[in-house]
Structure formats: C-alpha cells, structure tokens
Assembly symmetry: C3
Homo-oligomer: 336 residues x 3
C-alpha cells in the first residue's frame, strides 16, 4: 500500500481526490483503485490518464482503499494481560483479554471492558468506566468517574475529565474556583486525537456522542455536548455549555463561543469564530462567522480595500468639482 | 446540584446568566439560587419567570452556587503518603501529609510542600520547589529548578519549564540553539489547564503571578510575565518577552506577539491577534487587534464589501455620465 | 548571564533587538554584548546609549550571546545508565552511554542511539529507531516504528506517530477509519516543542527534514513534509499531505490547509490561514493569506469600513442631487 507519489512496483495505490489524477500516468504502482463510473475522475479524464498498471474500480475508492489498508496494515497489538509493572487497584474490574501495559495506573473501582488495550504510562482514575474494544494510548489521563463507551480510541496525551474553567470573580478581584466534579461521557465509536482535552463541568455533563471523530489539540470545554458523527479538525476549540449538532464538520483552528448551538450538518470553515447560533445545514466562515458565500465574496474584496479608499476619495473630488461648477453656473444664471 | 436544563426533583440549581431565565418556569429542580434584587434577572423578568420551586436569593448567585457546589462535591482525594511504586530521590524533601502517586518521579533536591497531592505518572524534575496545598495532576512535567507557589493547581499534561523557542540563525542558514536554562516561576493560587505549556527563557525569567487562571492548551513563551488575577482562556498564545498586566482577560484562541505590553484590566476578544502594545482598561479585538467598538462596526460592514464595490462602480459610472454631460454643455455654450 | 532588564552587577547581558537599546544607559550589568559596527544599534544610537559597563562587540551579538549562555548554563544532565524502574524490552538495542530514566518504556525491537537521554516517564514504542545524542523529555510518546535521527530534541509531551485524521464517510453517515500505519520520520537536528503532535499517514510518510525547529502545541497532520531549517512558531497547524519548503518561517497560530505547497523561504504571518499554494520567497498574511504588503494596507483600512459606508452613502446622495438638478435644467432648457 502506498500513496500515488511514493508507490513502487508491487504497491497498491488509489486516487480519490481528482487533484492527484495527473500523477496516474507516471505511477510505478502495480495496481490502483479508481472510482467506478468516474466517481473520482470524470470519464474523459480517466481515459486521458490511463495508468500503466492494473485498475480496480470501486463505487467509493476511498472506502475501498480504507478496507485494503486494513487488510495489509501490520500493526502489532500489544500482548494481552496485565503487565507486572502496572498499578491496578485491587477492586478494579478488568474484562477478558484486556492488555494493560507497564506503568499504567488503574484507580480504585475502575472498570476496563473486554479486549480493551491500555498502552504504557496511561492513567485511568478511580471510578472510571471504559467499555469493550477500546484503545487507550500512552500518556492519556482519564480523570475520576469519567465514562468511556465501546470501541473508543484515545490517542496519546488525551485528557478526559479535567476541571472546566469556571470561576466566580469576587469583590476583591480574586477568582473563586467553582469545583468541577460533574460527569464527562465519551460515547461509543468516538476517536480523539493526540493531546486533545475534554473538560468536565460543575453541574450537568460534558458529552461526546457516538461516532464523533476529534483531531489533535482540540479543546472541549465544560458542559459542551457534541452530537453524533461530527468531525472536529485539529486545534478546534469549543467554549463552555455550547451544543454542537450531529454530522457537523468544523475545519482546522475554528472555534465556537460559549452558550450557543450549532445545528446538525452545519459546516464551519477553517479558522472561523462562531459567535452566534448557527442553523442546521448552513456553511459559515469568518471572524465572526457569516454565510460562507458572503464571506468568500467579501474576502476577495478585502485586498482591494486600499483601492476602494482611493476610488472613494477620487469620487469625492470629482463630485466636489461638479458641484462647484454647477454652483458657479447657477450663480451666473441668477446674475444674468 | 445540577444545571438548570438537567435538574430533577431533589436538585439545587442556579441562574446567573440571564439567557437561562426562560428555562426557570419549567425547571424540575427543588430549589434555585437567584440574584437578590435582580442581580441575575431584572425585577420584572424574575416575576414573570417565577420558578415552581424554592428560591434562594444571593447578591452574587454564581459565587453562592460555587460555594454550594463545594459543599456537595464528592471528590475523593487520593490517600496520603508516598506510593511504593514512585521514584522519589533520596535527597528530595517532602512536607507533611503529601500524597505521591504511583509512577511519580521526584528528582534530586526537589521539594514538595505540605499537603500537596501529586497524581500518578507526574514528573517533578531535580531542584524543583513546589509549595503547600498544591494539586499536580497526572502526566504533568515540571522541569528542573522550576518554582511553584502554594495552592497551585496544574491539570493533566501541563508542562512547566520546557525550553523557550530561541535560536540564532547562522550564515549557512542553520539555527544555533540558545540554551534555555533560566527561571520559571508559578506564583500562589495559579491554576493551569490541561496540556498547557509554560516555557523558560535563556536569561531572566518566565513568571505567572499570583491568582492567575489559565485554561487548556495555552502557550506561554520564554521570558513572558503574566500579572495577577489574569484570565487566559483556552488555546491562547503569548509570544516571547511579552508582559501581560493584572486583571487582564484574554478570550479563547487569541494571541499576543512578542516584546509588547498589555495593560492592566485590558480585555482581548476571541481569536484576536495583539500586534501592538495595548493600554490599561482597553478592550481590543481583531487581527490585528483594534478598539473593540471599531472592530465590531467594521466587522458588521465586512460582509457588505462586495456591495460597496458595486456601489462605488455605480457611482463612478454615474459621475462619468454627469461629467460628460456637463462637458458637452460647456462645449456647446462656448460654441455659441 | 541575564536579560538587560534583570541584569545585576556581575552579570553579562546583551542587546540584539534595537528596541532594548534605551535600557542600556541604566543597566547594572558588568558587561554587555553589542553588535560590531552597529549590527544591533545604529552608530549614533549606540554612542548616545553608551552603557555604564564593559562592551563586548560581536558581528552577530545574538549568536555570541547564545555561545556565552552555553558556557555558563548550569544544566545537569541525568546520570548515564538504565534506571532499574524502567521497562526496556529484552530485544531493544541501547547505544553506549545512554540514559534511561525511571518509568520509561522502551518497546520490543526499539533502538536508542549512543549518548541519547530519555527522561522519566517517556514511552518509546516497539520498533522505534532513535539516533545518537538525542534528548527525549518526559511524557513524550513515540509510537511504533517511528524513525528519529541524531541530535533530535523532543520536549515534554510531544507525540510522534499518532494516527492521522483519516476517515471515509459511509452512506449511513458513519466514518470508516482508514488505518494509519505508514512511516513518520524526524530527521537530524530537529527540535520539537512541548505537547506538539506529529501524525503518521495511511500510506506514504510524514517527514520533518533536518534542522527544522518546531515550537509548542504545533499540529503536523498525516502525510505532511516539512523542509530543512524551517521554523514553525507555537500553535501552528499543518493539514494533511501539505508540503512546506526549506527555510520557511511560519509565525504563531498560523495554519496551512491540506494538499498545498508552501515554497522555500516563504514567510507566513501570525494567525494567517494559507488556503492556496504559496510561492518561494513570498511573504503572505491574512485569512485567507494574501501578499503581506497588500494585507497590511487592507488591514489599516479595515477599521475605516463604517466611515467608507458613510462616505459612499453621502456620495450617492450628492450625486442624486446633481442628477436631479441637471435633469431639471435639461427639462427647463427643452421647455424654452
């Protein structure tokens, strides 16, 4: 398996993004997965770019590629069992065929479901419940009583259940900490990228619903709800008590303010700041985020602002000249 | 204790944000904390929205709620003592009633003050001094000789004392590393959110002053000073040698360039980039950050830029028409 | 060694940034490194600001300072040898004079080169190859089969080789995970800041080329290539399959979209979003990033947008008045 640019004889590759079609003609791969009926390539283009190798057609070449990668991937899962160098509380409950690596801490009363793998140096707090078939990578910290569903993947350095950023400003200017001990729930089939952080609230809950995928270095504040099958790209931030719907996509480095709702299937452009509620099925971009098409047109215009300034100043001069001219004429007329 | 939306019979809830007042009439909570004299709700509104439960009035309902949460919070602190699976240097100094979890490393000559809790897998470097009543969560790394005050809370994955990003570009284009071994100081009552990073400088010091609260995934560069009681929301970044005043508030994903000063009590809007010094008691927003009111007005106008373009073009056509007309008249007149 | 502001008698300090020259006259330092021939200070300014201490002249005062810091820096490297509290796989290969701290995990078949230091609680996965003279700080996670060159520095909490964010959306809206098991390569002399994350791809490779320096909390997605001697400031994000050239500088909190190329020696301004390919030797800023000079002019104009709106509206009224006036005249003329 190899990308189109690096493929060598013997490799299987794929093209799902039309941008890479021109590279097809010079690939050294032995086989390539392409869209059936031009799913990835318009018919004409794919004829023009007939690759010098076997072609496998699939309705959805990216999914076919995903399945092929899974067949060939040579990930060696760690050995089953509990490493003698771990610290598992006597009353913790471990399912069948779990794998607990060295220097893993599992707190009092915690549960780790069947076949779940916990990589070295991860910390699972007291009372945490983790479901079956999860993968908890190294350096993860899951704080006390957090709930993690089945088939959840937490990449290295993820923090689940840290205190929300909640303080009440006192009359002397100091900040009284509001204890943050309420629930944090990661539902089934969620994947969270390296060094992302999911805070817990003072009351209520923080919840990441089933099937949602979160990239690296993402911040989810206290009391946030993220819907099902939503995608949050890297370095996204969601402020406190905000609700993100189902099937939402937020591009990299975008953010949403606190106490608002982003509707189902909404798209948020890269680097955007959502400061107002966003309806379902909308596409917003910008700081503050506005309709994407409006933002695009305005952005193109932005670089011309200095030119606008000149043109407005010119117009003002021209109109002043006309006004003077007309005023002189009027005077002369009256003078007649 | 519960949020207004999730409260059930038997629960105490609160409303400090007027936005949630409409939910009052249908709450299932048994009691609610509200502002006295309409602190959270204007008199009329609170009459209109009389909740179907007991009302507790407080001058500052958020602080009252914070205190109530603290009464009911069921956080179980870890046991006192030094876990046998930790690695504490023989010459490290541990105060009374400390708690040192499994797989914690405490380096040579380090000091951990009385009643401080160090959660599993945290690393405290050689010569580090940590005060009393601190909470150092899992996966924290405090590098050698860092100074941490009393009642400091470092959430999971925080790094204190990593090398500042300092290089001198050489004639051949390579970057000569400037060793970063100077001081980093976290004063009393500071709280730092999960996976935030506080660098140390080559010379001088990085200092976070007393009572400042920092959210998750925040970057504080080398040689920065953050004043007292300042709030930095998630994913904020402060570049090298910059000075942030007392009682400043920086909203999420904002940043400040290097070598500038942000005055006391300044507010920086979400996603802003402060590229110039900011005075005390000012509110700035934008990229680059400008006066917040100016930014707000300009932002509202931004979406209309394409319209401006059309209107300017129309004006140019109309004025050209007028100019031609007048020119023709003038010609005719002269011709007479 | 001390910064110009904190220097006391007995200290050596330096001025490489002209901004700090005014502080020279009142420094308490015993000696200061300054540019020869006004490298840091124009001749006149350096005369005006003659410091009350010894002056050391250097062609490049910042590099001279870097070397002086290195002479005086009091970093104590950890002891050589393998800590008995570590977990080193029986078939791992350790070079001479390595230092492996407590609670370090070194996986099966991994290689750690001569004189490399691995700080406490770092995790080195199975099959990882690390070169000579590297420094791997605490809480680092290097996933299986990652390749790390010589003289590489990974600060605390860095993750190398986590799964890229790759999913194929299925017809029912769920996301099929594309296994991410391909290569991730960190070449010689790279330094990566605290809590930064470097993902690995499904196919091909993620590669950070020699001499590149990356600051804290930076995200490098799957399949990205970063060239030689490039500088990425804190909180930068690079999306999947993008290629960043040699000697590029990206300022803090900037980002680049996926599948584009940023040319050699390009500069990207703070907080910018590169959404299109960027040529070599260009300087771009903004969201989306445009030519820096254009952006600067447009940004200055941005705050005046509400004024533009007023001026355009005024122009429209004035021109309407003129048009009416002329129309009346024309009518009258015809009427004559």
């Amino acid at each position: 398996m190899s990308g189109i640019a690096h493929a060598r004889p013997g490799d299987l590759t794929f093209v799902a993004n039309a941008k890479y079609l021109p590279q097809l003609t010079r690939t050294r791969a032995s086989a390539v997965i392409l869209g059936a009926n031009g799913a990835a390539a318009p018919r004409a283009a794919s004829k023009a770019a007939r690759p010098p190798c076997a072609i496998l057609r699939a309705d959805d070449p990216y999914s076919a590629f995903a399945r092929a990668v899974a067949l060939f991937a040579h990930a060696r899962p760690p050995d089953k069992g509990v490493d003698p160098l771990s610290a598992v509380a006597a009353d913790a409950s471990l399912g069948v065929d779990v794998s607990i690596g060295p220097f893993v801490t599992v707190g009092a009363g915690a549960t780790v479901g069947a076949r779940t793998v916990v990589y070295p140096n991860a910390v699972i707090g007291p009372g945490v419940k983790i479901g079956e078939d999860c993968v908890i990578h190294s350096q993860v910290a899951i704080r006390d009583r957090a709930l993690v569903g089945n088939r959840v993947i937490l990449h290295d350095g993820v923090v689940v259940g840290s205190d929300g950023f909640g303080f009440a400003r006192q009359k002397d200017g100091t900040h009284l900490k509001i204890p943050q001990h309420a629930d944090v729930v990661i539902e089934d089939d969620v994947e969270i990228g390296a060094n992302s952080t999911i805070d817990r609230p003072a009351v209520g809950e923080t919840r990441i619903r089933a099937g949602t995928k979160i990239d690296n270095l993402v911040h989810i504040a206290h009391g946030v709800t993220i819907g099902c099958r939503t995608l949050l790209a890297a370095q996204v931030g969601i402020a406190g008590s905000t609700i993100i719907g189902d099937d939402v996509t937020m591009a990299g480095q975008s953010g949403v303010t606190g106490h608002v709702t982003v509707g189902d299937r909404a798209l948020v452009g890269a680097k955007s700041a959502v400061l107002q509620p966003v309806g379902a099925d909308t596409f917003v971009t910008g700081i503050p985020a506005i309709d994407h098409a409006d933002w695009r047109r305005a952005s193109v215009t932005f670089a011309r602002l200095p030119l606008f300034r000149k043109r407005i100043a010119q117009l003002e001069r021209r109109i002043a000249t006309l006004e003077e001219k007309l005023a002189r004429w009027q005077k002369r007329k009256k003078g007649r």
